[in-house]
């Protein structure tokens, strides 16, 4: 394939940013955000260029833009990358979240160098995971993300930040411990001591091994994807994190988990998958119901958004387990969609609102007349809520539609609960939207005098915030209107007979 540098360039641009920022003298700390912004834009540019250059007329194998350099030759470890549609969609998502994350962190003035260096490290690691074709490389990149999260949250976070950061870190590490276990098993059993995912996907692992390795790896990755009941890190972590990191967590990091579950656990162990599919699907369904119900009862706006992430990721996992092209492509689309929407919601709650009002209590926010004082924030949150509910016209709709259709085929009984979950999602989103932004009225027309505002006027929404919000809104609406742009490459990676994940669909063709 031509242009094989495109993928590697995404990683390089992120880590080049990290290096540049580390080399900045302390006096010039203010320049860190500009470097981070440039680095994010460059990374996104490369990802987008790769997305554009993706050739759907060719088979999905060999993966495009592939790079394969021996790394630890004697142990069969390679720096091998490549992309199919699924990878590209998620790379694109990472790029978007990187840019907007930097924009929403424009007001970070405490230790900006460290903040943006860690931020870009997470971005670089995520780029790495989404393009790794070597399991070792994938795991390395996957773990690279963990420690920066801890520092970002514990240093720049808000409520209960040290607790949230530690909990999140411990959960992540516990999850990756499981993954490591499976990885070593795979490494030992695979012929020729290879960890190349394409080769592994074609190797029939012994069934006895698959039966334990699949759940171990799926749950290991699932922890990061908010799989119930291993999700509890997510709400506290999301809430504790600074805005850009909440966006990253919801937008990208949770996707690392679901991507790993798909690309590694499911692709490598089809028989294990077959055996454990139903129990895991039930867990996913419980997760999406549970997330929605708990979100309904929250008093802290950020907790609502945090639990909504679990709810949405439940859809992703359920979609993955349907094992039909509708459900799978819906799940991948939902990963993208939730990445954008979750990012947007956290951006509003964390940056636009909390940084100004210093509260996230829904009832308190309700008394502030936010719709009037911060109309842009209200508009953004409304759009994000509508998208989060899965209203048509936003990216979530098509994704959830596909997942529902896929679920219907695969697990007709679960469909009832899934629909219930959709319903409760609407309810909690609407509740949060109303109570915090539009408690009684939205127009001054026949309004009674608004509650006396105890605070001095809130600072207006800044340009970087507007830009970031507009990018994210454009993304969710754009995908909602033209989902084909993403669905085609996603489907291509599943349905093309030359694909490493093709057997996922065939395996259960009844």
């Amino acid at each position: 394939m031509t242009a094989s540098y495109l993928l590697t360039a995404t990683i390089v641009s992120a880590f080049a940013g990290v290096l540049l920022i580390l080399l900045l003298p302390m006096r010039w700390g203010g320049a860190a955000k500009w470097i981070a912004f440039l680095s994010a834009v460059t990374g996104f540019g490369f990802a987008a260029a790769a997305f554009r250059a993706y050739d759907m007329s060719a088979g999905a194998l060999p993966l495009q833009f592939g790079v394969d350099v021996p790394w630890v030759e004697s142990l069969g470890i390679h720096f091998a990358t490549g992309a199919d549609g699924v990878s590209l969609v998620l790379l694109l998502l990472t790029g978007i979240i990187a840019i907007t994350g930097v924009l929403f962190s424009w007001n970070v003035t405490r230790q900006p160098r460290a903040f943006f260096a860690l931020f870009l490290t997470i971005i670089g690691g995520s780029y790495g995971v989404f393009q790794s074709l070597d399991l070792f490389l994938l795991f390395v990149c996957y773990e690279v993300v963990i420690i920066p999260k801890y520092f970002l949250i514990s240093n720049w976070g808000s409520t209960n930040r040290e607790y949230g950061a530690m909990k999140l870190t411990i959960y992540s590490v516990a999850g990756s411990a499981l993954v490591l276990l499976g990885l070593i098993g795979v490494y030992i059993l695979a012929p020729g001591r290879t960890l190349n995912l394409v080769a592994l996907s074609q190797y029939p692992f012994p069934v006895a091994f698959q039966l334990w390795a699949f759940p171990v790896m799926f749950i290991g990755f699932g922890v990061l994807a908010g799989l119930w009941p291993f999700h509890t890190w997510a709400p506290t972590g999301h809430v504790a994190a600074p805005t850009a990191v909440s966006m990253l967590l919801a937008g990208v990091v949770m996707k690392l988990g679901s991507y790993g579950a798909l690309r590694v656990a499911m692709t490598l162990f089809p028989q294990g998958l077959e055996y454990w599919r139903m129990p895991l699907a039930i867990l996913a369904t419980i997760g999406l119901l549970y997330g929605a119900l708990v979100a309904l009862a929250q008093r802290d706006l950020k907790f609502v958004v945090g639990y909504s992430s679990i709810n949405h990721m439940g859809f992703v996992l359920l979609g993955l387990l349907t094992l039909n092209s509708l459900g799978l492509s819906g799940a991948v689309l939902q990963m993208f969609s939730h990445g954008i929407i979750g990012g947007l919601l956290f951006a509003v709650v964390g940056r636009m609102i909390y940084d100004r009002t210093h509260t996230r209590e829904i009832s308190v926010l309700g008394t502030m007349g936010l719709a009037k004082s911060l109309p842009f924030a209200a508009l953004t949150f409304t759009v994000a809520s509508a998208a989060s509910m899965g209203l048509p016209g936003f990216s979530g709709f098509i994704a959830e539609l596909q997942i529902l259709l896929g679920t219907w085929k695969a697990f007709p009984v679960l469909l009832i609960f899934t629909m219930l979950g959709v319903g409760i999602t609407v309810a909690f989103t609407l509740r949060a939207l109303q109570k915090s932004f539009f408690p009684a009225l939205i127009s001054g027309e026949t309004a009674p005098a608004p509650a006396p505002e105890p605070h001095e006027p809130l600072p207006p929404i800044t340009f970087p915030e507007r830009l970031g919000a507009v990018i994210l809104m454009a993304a969710t609406i754009g995908v909602g209107l033209f989902p084909k742009v993403l669905i085609d490459p996603i489907l291509h990676s599943f349905e093309s007979s030359q694909s490493m994940m093709h057997h996922l669909i065939q395996g259960v063709a009844r």
């Binding site: 092209s325 509708l326 492509s329 409304t382 509508a386 509910m389 209203l391 048509p392 016209g393 709709f397 098509i398 539609l401 596909q402 529902l404 259709l405 219907w408 085929k409 007709p412 629909m419 959709v422 319903g423 609407v426 309810a427 609407l430 109303q434 539009f438 408690p439 009684a440 009225l441 939205i442 127009s443 001054g444 027309e445 026949t446 309004a447 009674p448 033209f482 989902p483 084909k484 669905i487 085609d488 489907l491």
Partner: protein
């Protein structure tokens, strides 16, 4: 102009963006933007109605693009007589409502109304379920905020209730169509109708869900029925309506009753009937009973109300019940009974248009009353207004009589056709429904009497008559009532070929 329908759909959207960019203080500019946009849309709609080849009938101005190929979803829209009637209605009622806002017009209101118009245009032209559903559901967002413009906590609650009801109903419908998609792998409404005509749809559903083959079609039908029934609404599903209509500002209620409820009725005609003629025939008794209950119950409920808005709200339910009665009667008839079926069907479509016009005019008048009375709108709060506001009383009287179905006004022809057709097919149900007619007459006349006749209360001595602006607002609508009452062929000619296609 092969893209005229797309153009039509997005004209209000462009207008909304335009309005959004205007400064929020300048009501004049905002009103101009809103009116200009809606009038352009009206002009385009009318020109489409004239261009429409009535001889050929059927779907015209079709546009078709691949949208989501993996799900066989297309951007597919076209218009037939039915669509055109609703497009014209939409294009008429929207500027009417904008005018009715008067001085209370805010930037948000203009933007929302225009957005709503886009979703309405989209709904009335879409021919792929997902495409249709897209606009159908999207209309909730502007509607939700429009209801909240009422500004009271009750309005908030009502908006939420409306939103939740409709959205959940939408889910039920979505679920039904997902089942259909599983069975047929298409969302294309015309293809599905063709399948249904060959009686293959039910078989396909049974085959796709062998475990539930006995009742899957019924379940899907019920899902869609509930989904649409909430929007119309049909009686046990109507509870959101009085609250929403009452708490919303009157111009918004105009849109709700004039246009949004029509989405439901349109759905019945476009989705339910073409896809499930067999089931509708099979279940004619409960369906007709549903229509009768809707008619009678809502009429009696209106009789018991003491709030002008609630009265008109229930009367709205009542009038739409006639549409359902006509439709269910058409479905219940044997195939050969062409004359009566055509009559009833024509009546239904005519009634859709007429009710849209009349009910929105009534809400407009109530809005004027509210503005004058400072929010009072109790049935017993007024009296003798005829003396101080004769023009007001006269024009509103015309609207009320149109609603009553007085011959010579538009309401009559539709109801007459419905009753004529239905009576021949389902005499029992129609006879029961006639109770509704009488009750309607009672409460509407009571309204006239209590508000306009009788002794004039002291406090209303200064009740101003209609201003010039207000007259200009309502007179076109009143004029149209007369025109259609006298010359209904103007509309019938447009959709009659479609009706013939629908019932065959």
């Amino acid at each position: 102009m092969s893209n005229s329908l797309t153009l039509l759909t997005f004209i209000p959207l462009i207008g909304a963006i335009w309005a959004a960019l205007l400064p929020s203080k300048s009501t004049g500019q905002l009103r101009f933007a809103g009116l200009f946009t809606t009038l352009v849309a009206l002009a385009l709609t009318l020109s489409l109605a004239f261009q429409y080849d009535r001889a050929a009938g059927g779907l015209q101005f079709a546009e078709r693009y691949e949208w989501i190929p993996s799900l066989h979803i297309e951007y597919y829209l076209a218009a037939d007589g039915l669509s055109l009637v609703l497009l014209v209605l939409t294009a008429l009622v929207t500027p009417f409502s904008l005018l009715a806002f008067g001085k209370g017009l805010s930037k948000l209101a203009v933007v929302l109304v225009l957005l709503l118009e886009t979703t309405l245009f989209g709904t009335f032209t879409a021919l792929n379920f997902v495409h249709w559903f897209f606009f159908y559901e999207l209309s909730l967002v502007p509607a939700f905020f429009l209801i909240r413009l009422g500004g009271t906590p009750k309005a908030t609650a009502a908006a939420t209730q409306f939103f939740i009801y409709t959205l959940f109903a939408g889910f039920a419908m979505l679920l039904g169509f997902l089942a259909i998609y599983q069975a047929t792998h298409t969302f294309d409404l015309t293809e599905l109708a063709a399948l249904a005509r060959q009686e293959k749809l039910g078989h396909a559903l049974s085959a796709a869900f062998p475990a539930f083959s006995g009742w899957i079609s019924g379940a899907v039908f019920l899902g869609i029925l509930v989904g649409l029934g909430v929007k119309v609404p049909v009686v046990p599903l109507h509870t959101w309506l009085p609250n929403a209509y009452t708490e919303a500002p009157a111009p918004v209620s105009m849109l709700l009753t004039g246009l949004l409820s029509k989405m439901g009725v349109y759905g019945f005609l476009r989705l339910l009937y073409p896809l499930f003629p067999g089931l509708m025939f099979h279940w004619q008794v409960p369906l007709l009973a549903l229509a009768v209950v809707t008619i009678v119950f809502s009429a009696l409920a209106a009789l018991a109300q003491r709030d002008l808005k609630r009265i008109v709200a229930y009367s709205s339910v009542n009038h739409l019940g006639y549409c359902l009665l006509g439709l269910f009667a058409v479905a219940a008839a044997t195939h050969a009974d062409t004359v009566n079926r055509a009559a009833a069907m024509n009546g239904v479509i005519l009634q859709i248009f007429n009710h849209g016009l009349t009910a929105s005019a009534l809400f407009c008048f109530i809005g004027f009353i509210e503005k004058r009375s400072g929010g009072l709108r109790g049935l017993n709060d007024f009296g003798g207004l005829r003396e101080v506001a004769p023009v007001f009383a006269g024009l509103m009287g015309i609207a009320i009589f149109s609603s009553l179905g007085l011959p010579g006004l538009n309401g009559f022809v539709g109801e007459f056709l419905i009753f004529k057709g239905s009576f021949a097919i389902a005499p029992g149900a129609t006879a029961l429904a006639a109770i509704g007619l009488f009750v309607t007459a009672v409460f509407l006349l009571t309204l006239i009497q209590r508000v306009f006749a009788g002794p004039l209360a002291e406090r209303w001595k200064a009740f101003p008559d209609l201003s010039t602006g207000e007259r200009l607002t309502v007179i076109p609508a009143i004029a149209l009532m007369f025109v259609l009452g006298i010359y209904p062929q103007l509309l019938i000619g447009l959709f009659n070929p479609t009706v013939l296609k629908l019932i065959f």
